[in-house]
């Protein structure tokens, strides 16, 4: 049994995991998911990209949850199904990236503008082991925020 990313080349694992973007070497526009081929900035004819780690923290653009089991190709982690939360997070690069929310957190732990941090957790487990995925984890507990 081993743990491996659910998709290759989109994020690093380890103590300080990060999403991997592609930065155009001509105009410096950054893309996620990673891209290759042609820069999509209409004012740029760049064709070369370097892989860069994206900001590990960002601000919540919005959030929700999935209270019904999504259809395939989603693979439920548990039977019976357990709902999970989702967030769109704005990074310093100016990209907003979707992700599930870290285990143990729900919509009650989030608000628009709140700071979250990237973590890597288990998406689901198959015969070959754990499939890993990036997730967004609230940085400031809502209670702490109210005390400030």
């Amino acid at each position: 049994m081993s743990a491996r990313p659910a998709i290759d080349g989109w994020f690093t694992t380890g103590d300080a995991p990060a999403l991997l973007g592609s930065r155009c070497t001509t105009c410096a526009t950054t893309y996620f998911p990673p891209t290759a081929g042609f820069c999509r900035n209409p004012a740029c004819d760049g064709q070369d990209f370097e892989t860069v780690e994206l900001s590990r923290r960002g601000q919540v653009w919005s959030y929700t949850d999935a209270q019904y089991q999504p259809p395939p190709p989603y693979v439920p982690r548990t039977d019976p199904y357990e709902p999970f939360a989702l967030a769109a997070v704005e990074l310093a690069e100016g990209i907003t990236v979707l992700g599930q929310v870290a285990d143990g957190y729900g919509v009650g732990d989030l608000r628009v503008g709140a700071e979250v941090e990237l973590v890597v957790e288990t998406l689901n487990t198959d015969d070959d082991g754990d499939q890993l995925i990036w997730r967004w984890k609230p940085v400031t507990e809502l209670g702490e925020e109210a005390d400030q």
Binding site: A6, I7, T29, T30, Y31, F32, P33, R40, N41, P42, W61, S62, Y63, T64, D65, A66, Q67, Y68, P70, P71, P72, P73, Y74, V75, F84, L86, A88, E93, G94, I95, T96, V97, L98, G99, Q100, V107, R111, V112, G113, L123, I133
Partner: protein, 396 residues
């Protein structure tokens, strides 16, 4: 009114529902209704444009030809359009372009769909380069989850409540009561919405539109052709906007997992704002002149977004118009007098044409039981997957 107007001679629909029949049957019913309404014989139509349906096999991919054959081959030119939820508008735009170029005189535009039950899911197979597949596989991100992101932003940024969203459903359910083509013709209360299951917080089941079978068709012609037929004052198509986004597109759009990057400053306007702006500019008509709007309420909260996107009010003000009854028939700017997707459910390739049908009936004063009195100008708006969206402005 500009020289780029085309005349709407006839409109028709097949009622929305879950009938389980082939999409071609619905399309033919709608087409025949539109032809009868127009007084144009099918043999005289010199162009047919079909809205493609991706769900119904090869016949759906070549919808224009499929409808043409079902109506009886008549030698007309044929085209088929696909632009997700904007499919019908793009098909109409194709017809308009050939008419304005003088290549065709009178065209039949048809969209029809037969839909599966439940969540719309991506195509089958392992599709690791398809964002529409990856968003389900990696994130479990359904369509309602995207709608819920937009809804939550309205709550956190503008103070919208779940009761406001429910009030949109209550209003649209009432609007659709007398609409013979609506699938749901039943009063709904705020309590009904609030007590239905939460699908994706903050949206309840009754905040989210169903998927439906249905069909809509429009007969359009040059204004000269309309005049020759003796139609003194036809409804006119003043604008059809089918713009793509402008880079960087920084608002999260279904089915993407991310947005483009902005270099530190947000673009001047969003994609959805640009859709309406382009329509107003093309029509030479201002938002203040609009009598009614048919906008894409895939969710109740999205109707509120659209009111701002097509400049019926300023950003963050939609709830106050809703609460004051201004978007109800009889109010200052009725929104979705047809009952909207709340009463119809979504039949993708037909929906943008259904919006045009409703606006046409409203402008002719034929929207029995849901008429916006004195309607002069109507606007439609919708957005679909992969940078598609449309807005049509009609007037009489």
């Amino acid at each position: 009114m500009s020289s780029n107007d085309v005349a709407v001679l006839g409109v028709g629909m097949h009622p929305w529902g879950k009938w389980g029949k082939p999409f071609t049957e619905y399309g033919v019913v709608a087409a025949r209704a539109a032809l009868a309404d127009s007084g144009v014989a099918w043999q005289d139509v010199d162009l047919i444009v079909g809205g493609e349906t991706v769900r119904n096999g090869y016949g759906g991919y070549v919808a224009g030809a499929t409808f043409a054959q079902a109506l009886g081959w008549n030698g007309a030119r044929v085209a088929t359009s696909y632009a997700a939820c904007a499919t019908g508008a793009q098909a109409l735009d194709t017809a308009r372009a050939r008419i304005l170029a003088g290549l065709s005189e009178v065209a039949l535009v048809v969209g029809a769909d037969t839909t599966p039950k439940g969540f719309l899911a991506p195509n089958a197979g392992e599709r690791w380069d398809d964002p529409d597949w990856l968003r389900f596989r990696l994130l479990g991100m359904t369509n309602p989850a995207y709608f819920a992101l937009y809804a939550r932003r309205r709550m956190d940024l503008y103070g919208a409540t779940q009761e406001d969203f429910a009030a949109v459903k209550v209003k649209n359910a009432r609007h659709g009561l007398a609409n013979p083509n609506a699938r749901y013709k039943k009063e709904v209360s705020v309590e009904d919405v609030m007590s239905s299951a939460v699908v994706s917080d903050p949206l309840h089941l009754l905040d989210i539109c169903a998927t439906s079978d249905g069909a809509a068709a429009v007969v359009v012609a040059s204004t000269e052709y309309a005049a020759r037929m003796g139609i003194a004052k036809p409804v006119r198509v003043n604008a059809i906007s089918t713009v793509t986004p402008t880079f960087p597109n920084t608002v999260m759009d279904m089915p993407q997992l991310s947005t483009d990057a902005h270099g530190g400053t947000e673009p001047e306007r969003t994609f959805k704002e640009s859709i309406g702006d382009a329509a107003y500019e093309e029509a030479g008509i201002a938002p203040e002149d609009v009598s009614l709007a048919e906008v894409y309420d895939l969710s109740t909260a999205l109707e509120l977004d659209w009111m701002e996107d097509v400049s019926l009010c300023k950003r963050g003000e939609a709830e106050s118009l809703l609460r004051a009854g201004e978007t109800t028939i009889g109010g200052r700017i009725p929104v979705n007098p047809s009952g909207g997707l709340a009463c119809f459910g979504e039949a993708v390739p037909a929906q943008a044409l259904a919006q045009v049908c409703e606006v046409t009936w409203q402008l002719r004063g034929q929207a029995e039981g849901r008429q916006v009195e004195g309607a002069k100008v109507g606007i439609t708006a919708n957005q679909g997957l992969f940078g598609h969206g449309s807005s049509v402005i009609l007037s009489r």
